[in-house]
């Protein structure tokens, strides 16, 4: 239908316009982008005697008549401006095209001949609300009671990268802390921020009790970190920090000589700032690190987290942080400076691009799949049974806190050890280059590390 209409327009191009909203070029496409943009184009179509056609890759094409009136609201430039304002920073990235078919048909033809690859639509927090989501979550919460706490947990080690030519290659990566995080079911909780917060809070009591017991008994979950002096981080809801269970964990951590940090979601923080203030006081009193996590690029511009007194602020990596030279880049840099680079950690740094961006912007602390791969490669270098496994397997097993996720590992004790400096970065890079861990890129150049 789209192609038929395009052929007809190209057959009689005089006085006709083609406007394309390239939703397929969005860096983080969501279902709501198309849903909201469609009525905007439909209204323009009504004004300009045109029709909107969706393309298989999600792009929206408006074919219409050029306005004959001088009315500014009817001019195609007004529509382009409206779309650019709607999409904000994305609007600068050339994802709106306008062709006067009488003179610019070649450009439109070239667009039609491009393969229409559909990008994956990111799961949006909360597209629609259904009782089934809540029922599924209730069922999961019930069944999770039968699962041992470690099997509900994932673990990830955050690292600090030391840049500079004078830093020995083996000292360029050092562990900062190990974070234990509850693996929530990907369905309902991933779709709704409020259900997610509820479930996380509901699991806190079990997490606190298990960690307390593990610290008191020298259990496997915390033993290696405590011996290595590596801090342990957990995510908690604010009321959980004020609970008796947290007090008991504090005592157990002190007795075991463990260093603990507590990560609080900024959603939780902004839901009750006075409770946050109180909880932060408790954390300081207990000697725990106070971490705020979950800041994204869009929120950086208006959330002044720097004044909340956190020891560490975790910024989510996204492509939106990458800006061409100009005002927007300076704005992002200004936001980073306001946060304080010495307390920013870039999380979800899953690719070399993410780490490269962080390094270029003065960030030295990271968490993410890319660093997990580096640590996995280092681990395999030291593992005498490494030949039995792939790097992908080693990374996946290292991310599991429970025994269930470690099945197949012949040397599980190594999974809990903090990453050691490899004898030579070349070996690490060699392991990385041969590994099939997705997403895998060529590591950053040595001088950046």
């Amino acid at each position: 239908m789209l192609l038929d209409a395009a052929r007809r327009a190209l057959a009689a191009p005089r006085g006709r316009l083609a406007i394309v909203l390239h939703l397929s070029r969005l860096r983080a496409p969501r279902a709501y982008h198309g849903r909201i943009a469609r009525p905007v184009l439909d209204q323009a179509a009504a004004r300009l005697a045109g029709t909107v056609y969706p393309r298989s890759n999600g792009d929206l094409l408006l074919l219409c008549q050029e306005p004959t009136s001088g009315d500014a609201s009817l001019q195609p430039a007004a529509l382009v401006q409206e779309l650019a304002l709607l999409f904000g920073a994305e609007g600068d990235l050339g994802f709106i095209s306008l062709w006067h078919l009488g003179t610019e048909a070649a450009g439109f033809r070239a667009y039609l001949e491009e393969p229409a690859f559909a990008p994956p639509i990111l799961p949006a927090a909360a597209e629609e609300v259904t009782p089934a989501q809540t029922a599924a979550m209730a069922e999961w919460l019930k069944s999770s009671q039968r699962i041992p706490v470690p099997d509900l947990l994932g673990q990830q080690t955050a690292v600090e990268l030391h840049a500079g030519r004078d830093v020995p290659i083996g000292s360029r990566l050092s562990p900062l802390f190990r974070e234990f995080v509850m693996h929530l079911p990907g369905g309902a909780a991933g779709m709704d921020p409020w259900l997610e917060r509820h479930v996380a809070a509901a699991l806190d009591e079990r997490l606190l009790a298990h960690l307390q017991h593990d610290l008191e008994e020298g259990g496997r979950l915390t033993r290696a970190s405590v011996h290595a002096g590596l801090a342990i981080h957990i995510n908690l809801a604010l009321p959980s920090i004020a609970s008796p269970a947290f007090g008991r964990l504090t005592q157990a951590a002190r007795a075991a000589g463990a260093r603990l940090g507590v990560e609080i979601s900024i959603v939780e923080a902004f839901a009750d700032l006075s409770m946050l203030d109180y909880a932060a006081g408790l954390l300081r009193h207990a000697g725990f690190a106070f971490v705020l996590e979950g800041l994204d690029e869009a929120s950086m511009g208006f959330a002044r987290l720097g004044s909340l007194g956190a020891d560490l602020i975790k910024l989510d990596w996204s492509q939106g942080l990458v800006q061409p030279p100009g005002p927007r880049r300076r704005t992002v840099e200004g936001h980073l400076q306001a946060l304080g680079l010495d307390r920013v950690l870039l999380q979800q740094a899953d690719t070399a691009d993410a780490v490269g961006w962080g390094q270029a912007n003065g960030i030295n602390r990271y968490q993410g799949a890319f660093l997990d791969s580096v640590q996995g490669a280092t681990r395999m270098f030291h593992c005498h049974t490494a030949s039995l496994c792939s790097l992908k397997q080693c990374v996946a097993r290292g991310a599991a806190a429970g025994t269930q996720g470690r099945t197949g590992c012949s040397n599980p004790a190594l999974l809990d050890l903090p990453p050691e400096a490899p004898p030579g970065a070349d070996s690490v890079r060699g392991a990385l280059a041969s590994a099939a861990v997705a997403p895998m890129r060529v590591p950053a150049p040595a001088h950046r590390w």
Partner: protein, 393 residues
């Protein structure tokens, strides 16, 4: 801080302390939390826990002791260092936490802070406190029919199913918001600016889920508001609902602004009315998905609607640049610490319960007010044309 055992023992221990303080003449301060004045319908146990957490902030005060008393009351006694109630110390922070707790309770159900707590200067007012404690002696009455159970996911799932089919029109309410100053800032008699539409969630709960407190779990309560958003959008978009409306206020989730339901309502709202439609969001929702918020903000502002941030007290505005976020209006309760307004952002002060509150609101720079004591003429507001807006980068 010393934490005393529950109820009767706590009562006895506090009585002993009061007698000793009177004899020794040591200056102390006592705070009594009247937990029974927390509304039952909002899950008193949950709020009691939060109130206790707020009061345990006094743990660092000199010689602080916490006493559990009958009927769920709590008392904290500490050595007085002459700290003002609004100071930034432990007491000041505890007050802020309690105010915040009260602000979370739906309008009309929350007691005033002064009703929830009493503060006594010891030993001068020890006899007053003794009298109150005397009333607590003997056999305390059972806590009024016991607290409601907090909402859980199983019950919420059933409630969401019920809500999908129930006629909610009977639960729809509106409250007026009045303009207090002219666009140039000059004071003027209160005039109706918009009517805020909402569902009386407590009434929904009493009717559809009477054994559970819908507001007891903050996150499940917020999840419930998403379901109610959808129903409200459908209700407002119904035939005749928009007739004669001069201004409209809706409490929404970000996701609801990006939903089909909002798009359908948007089609029905005349362009000239959009400038008088105020869409209210919560800070936590804004931060939950910054990208979604930014897109929703660009969309609704581009269409001419106005965005309001709810619960925007001084603490929130200290950590959130509301102008950069793209909010036109912030809403704050009179009970909360007043915010410092950035240029170009208007203030709605809620909770106007006395005539004096109006003058207080004016002094705070409020453009709009709401509350039972606004002596307003409910005349239709002047229609404001939808302004042309620019997206916030």
């Amino acid at each position: 801080m010393v934490n005393m055992p529950a109820a009767a023992d706590g009562l006895e221990a506090l009585g002993l302390l009061l007698r000793q303080a009177a004899v020794a003449g040591v200056r102390r301060r006592a705070l009594l939390l009247h937990a029974e004045r927390l509304p039952r319908a909002v899950g008193r146990q949950y709020h009691l826990r939060l109130a206790r957490a707020a009061l345990t902030g006094l743990a660092h005060a000199d010689r602080a002791q916490l006493f559990d008393l009958p009927r769920g009351r709590l008392a904290v006694v500490w050595r007085d260092r002459g700290e003002a109630l609004n100071a930034g110390g432990e007491l000041g922070r505890a007050m802020q936490s309690l105010k915040r707790l009260l602000a979370d309770i739906p309008d009309g159900q929350a007691p005033m802070l002064g009703e929830l707590i009493s503060i006594y200067e010891l030993p001068d007012q020890a006899a007053w406190l003794q009298d109150v404690l005397g009333d607590l002696g003997g056999d305390p009455p059972a806590v009024a029919q016991g607290p409601l159970a907090p909402l859980d996911t199983s019950v919420l799932a059933r409630l969401e199913l019920s809500l999908a089919q129930a006629d909610l029109a009977a639960f729809a309410r509106w409250r007026p918001v009045y303009r207090l100053s002219a666009p140039g800032g000059a004071p003027m008699p209160p005039v109706l600016a918009w009517e805020e539409r909402y569902f009386a969630i407590a009434d929904v709960g009493a009717s559809l889920c009477p054994s559970h407190a819908l507001a007891a779990d903050m996150w499940l309560h917020l999840r419930l508001t998403r379901t109610l958003d959808r129903r409200m959008l459908a209700l407002i978009g119904g035939i005749g609902e928009l007739n004669g409306i001069g201004g409209l206020g809706l409490q929404m989730n970000v996701a609801s602004l990006l939903s089909h339901g909002f798009l359908r309502l948007d089609e029905k709202i005349p362009a000239a009315l959009r400038g008088s439609v105020v869409l209210s969001l919560q800070a936590a929702d804004v931060l939950a998905d910054g990208a979604a918020f930014a897109f929703a903000r660009n969309f609704v502002r581009g269409r001419g609607y106005r965005l309001m941030l709810a619960g925007a007290g001084a603490a929130l505005l200290a950590v959130m640049d509301v102008a950069a976020a793209g909010f036109d209006i912030v809403q704050n309760s009179l009970r909360d610490a007043p915010p410092r307004l950035p240029p170009g952002v208007q203030l709605v002060v809620t909770g106007i319960e006395h005539q004096n509150d109006l003058e207080h609101a004016r002094a705070l720079g409020a453009t709009y007010v709401s509350g039972p004591a606004v002596p307003a003429r409910p005349s239709p507001p002047p229609m404001e044309p939808a302004p042309v807006r620019h997206a916030v980068a």
